[in-house]
Symmetry: C2
């Protein structure tokens, strides 16, 4: 049994919630996935395991996974919310191409450090941050310049 499943079970028990087959299905589907996926994506994946699974359960379970510290919502673009793995995945921020959607994950220790300074400066206790850089990747920049004339 995967560590993440064990963690989820412990989380549920501590909250007085139940481990159910529907939740197991969603968890399995999530664990097999990678990248940034929406509730809709996850529903499709989970239905391949259990076609009778309800959509509401996916939304509900994703919230639980986030609360349990296994998932978090990734980039905050337009469109549906997207989740990514947290467990054994180190922190990173996102660089996205507004042309083609290409996505690069990066981590810049100096920026992380500077953020902590800001929290301290204003007397805040940090709970999280989100940094998203947007631009045109090399390919899209080229295309864009050509289109201009």
């Amino acid at each position: 049994m995967k560590e993440e499943q064990r963690l989820f079970e412990i989380y549920l028990r501590n909250k007085g919630l139940k481990m159910t087959s529907a939740r197991e299905t969603v968890l399995q589907a999530f664990l097999r996935s990678e990248g940034h996926l929406s509730a809709e994506d996850l529903l499709a994946a989970a239905k391949r395991i259990d076609p009778g699974l309800g959509q509401a359960t996916v939304f509900r379970t994703l919230k639980l996974l986030a609360d349990a510290g296994l998932a978090q919502d990734a980039c905050k673009d337009e469109g549906p919310r997207r989740y990514e793995h947290v467990y054994k995945h180190s922190h990173h921020d996102h660089l996205v191409c507004v042309g083609c959607g290409r996505l690069i994950e990066f981590c810049h220790p100096q920026i992380e450090k500077a953020q902590n300074e800001i929290f301290k400066e204003f007397g805040f206790r940090a709970t999280g941050h989100r940094l998203e850089l947007r631009g045109l990747c090399a390919d899209c920049a080229k295309t864009f310049d050509l289109e201009k004339e």
Copy 2:
């Protein structure tokens, strides 16, 4: 006449769009406002000038203001999109208290510089970025600790 109104007129003309009384109303309401405001907020303010104004027009005009470079959407929390002024307002990022919603605007030159390095490193042409720090302000942290026991 305000500079921003002039800019908006030029923008509209260049796009083959028309300056209308509804757009003027929305622009006036926006110019008189400050901070981060939603379409709903702006509609309320604009209706004080012209009660007959339609809600759709506010959404439409906010998009135009953003495209014209006068407004941009600020923090990307939950809930409705919120816009803030751009013209003659220097760039900044946001530090928000997840407890009470308190909001601090800051700018950290080192972070800005580091971001440019990242764009360069991955061959991207920058078009924008969004940094949002979340935490508990001193007051809320205190309250939170007391509630814990």
